[in-house]
């Protein structure tokens, strides 16, 4: 009888060691992305939202804590706060870049504030250098929502290396994939805690080395699932190689549109701070209804009819439609149902938490946000990216001029 393999004998079954590796290669993507944004740690996750959920968990946000957010953004930038059972405190935006206004942040910090969460809306970085100073002075964590801004820069520094934690998204974004997102940080503690928010125990076993955190590995940390799809990571890894080239071409398209649109009274093309690389996930203009005497939505509909895709991202679209297919007007986030009802999870949770102060989100309390929401219209990343070139931009301008030249017809 042969000796047991455990004791040095021959194995009963020897399998082919060369079987192909299944799934994606998260390690490679992680390493490549961390290097790209010049951050120490990168944690791939299932979406931009789960990146934010994990970021706030990493920052220790919990019941009754306050997180300073903007209302002029995609849903996830604020609902991540609710998913950590905390309370969003909305601040206004500046009227040029549509990003978080540091002056309003200073006014709204309380003893319950834990995190400042600006958004690089449309791909233009929020003023994170200034916000980081405010955060550190007040012992707060700065979490930057860069879902739309992969590849953006401030003062030559990559978005992803400046804030304490930065989150990115892939689906339809500058670094595109079929799904997924990633979070970057230079802090080992934030990295380990972000992983504990939603990674698999087998991965946590490798990531979490801090003794007082290792005891949570056996429950998969806090037990949610933020794990990315392997195929999506592989695709993101491939797309990372060509992203900057695509972005540069998009910036060239955007610069052309800006030079042309700035000649048109009543339309304000996007402002770009001189120290910034704006990656144009969307190209956003303001429309002056008083100048044209035609409602913005009618102007947008006329452009769409000409074959130029534009939409009103915050107010009209955000992809919400009435049952007859027409877009809804839903306003900036703080106008919407869950922020007006203050009772998301039942029994008033998390807004009326006994550990915090119940907020009141008044209509009209964020004047710039509310004004810009009524004026903005956007070209989409997809329509500014290859194969759409300068020739196509000229045709967009042709359509815009056609609509403006015929604006009288729309007044009827």
């Amino acid at each position: 009888m042969s000796k047991l393999a455990l004791l040095g004998g021959q194995k009963t079954i020897v399998r082919d060691a060369n079987s192909p590796k299944k799934g994606g290669n998260p390690e490679s993507f992680e390493d490549a992305f961390a290097r790209y944004v010049d951050a120490k740690y990168a944690l791939p996750v299932s979406s931009g939202q789960t990146a934010l959920n994990a970021a706030l968990a990493a920052a220790g946000v919990g019941p009754g804590d306050e997180v300073i957010v903007v209302s002029f953004t995609w849903l996830a930038s604020v609902s991540c706060v609710l998913h950590n059972n905390a309370i969003p405190i909305f601040v206004d935006i500046d009227d040029e870049t549509f990003t978080m206004d540091p002056k309003d942040v200073k006014r709204k910090i309380t003893e319950r504030t834990k995190v400042i969460l600006p958004v690089d809306i449309y791909g233009h970085p929020a003023p994170v250098v200034e916000l980081k100073q405010i955060a550190e002075k007040n012992n707060l964590v700065l979490v930057e929502d860069a879902a739309q801004a992969t590849g953006a820069q401030i003062n030559g520094e990559m978005v992803g290396s400046v804030a304490h934690i930065t989150t990115f998204s892939f689906a339809g974004k500058p670094l595109s994939s079929s799904s997924g997102g990633v979070l970057t940080t230079n802090s080992q503690e934030f990295y380990e805690r972000a992983a504990l928010a939603g990674q698999h125990p087998s991965m946590l076993s490798q990531i979490v080395t801090t003794p007082e955190l290792r005891k949570y590995v056996a429950t998969g940390g806090y037990g949610d699932n933020h794990r990315p799809d392997g195929h999506a990571l592989t695709l993101a890894y491939e797309n990372l190689k060509t992203m900057d080239e695509n972005t540069d071409a998009r910036i060239e398209n955007a610069n052309f549109l800006t030079s042309e649109l700035s000649k048109i009274p009543g339309i304000t093309p996007p402002y770009v701070k001189p120290e910034v690389r704006h990656v144009y996930h969307m190209y956003t203009c303001l429309y002056d209804e008083n100048h044209f005497g035609v409602p913005r939505d009618k102007f947008v509909a006329a452009l769409n009819a000409e074959g130029v895709t534009t939409w009103t991202y915050i107010d009209g679209a955000n992809y919400v439609f009435e049952s007859d297919g027409t877009p809804c007007h839903v306003g900036p986030l703080h106008h919407r149902t869950i922020y007006q009802e203050l009772d998301l999870y039942g029994k008033g949770c998390p807004f009326q938490c006994p550990h915090g102060m119940t907020p009141k989100y008044e209509i009209g309390s964020l004047p710039v946000t509310e004004q810009v929401t009524k004026q903005e219209f956007n070209f989409l990343q997809h329509d500014l990216t290859s194969p759409n070139d300068l020739d196509m931009m000229k045709r967009y301008m042709e359509a815009i001029h056609k609509v403006i030249d015929n604006i009288n017809e729309l007044r009827k």
Copy 2:
């Protein structure tokens, strides 16, 4: 000057209408899966965990509510309760199928109970017919965690059509894909509410037709992201076509192992209820340490050394490793840190919620669970599925006999 397209004129830009459709085809998968399990609605999501998160949200589970769960399971079956800010109440399992014991359920229902959440552990359905009667008698919702049991049946009925809501997972499961999961129900209300828990507003616009729920569409419902990867759905759709064939071959392998292992004193092969189709995500045996005089883990290590992959799913593995690479012994879920600390999100949330009763999860309170955790060892789905055939099963048996014939060597 030409007439505006909006007013009936010619479009400025006509794009190619034949551009390829991007991403997966969630509708097709949905329809195919709903038909397969004979349910009215199927909602694809990003994972088995998010299916459970959505199921409990659909059932209206909130702060202080109690959900009856088992401790002998994967993490997600219980952490989904915490992610809805509710309180898990653990019940014991039966000692034959290792699924939820209805007698213990009856003892633990209180006025705070909202949901009964059994698990089809290893692919053997929980007694959902009996549990559904208990649920309906007590005005509770039955949510079946069938992550490991796609294709399983009870009394000829498909798992997915019996409980009020059933959840499935794809990664490495009987219906395999690179990621994702799906939830099924026959209730329009549960379907709409489950979608509100984590789908995109553009999808919610189509799914949510109930007037009092439509007001939540503009926040993406409750604002989390449970959206599946499109490629993963396409792959799941393809794999659904061959799943039953693969499962039948795996059942044949399992039946062979059972006929052989039942001849070996000290090893109890899995019991299968006569009315059930067990799909063997794992093939689970009990090991009698007293009979062999060798610890279970040493026996498992000896099998692994012979080239037969087995593990102790609940206790040892669950993929948790010490920093030196050795598996941890972590016990059933109620033994683990977050259930012993009762302070997951800070300030005692959700266990010490003022809207509920703080639980105490005592070691030793679930005797069958705790006994089986010490005895079980498992063969994995992968190792019982093609190309592993009866010849390979014979080689597994050869290895098992070799270890048992040499068991004296392991006693030293």
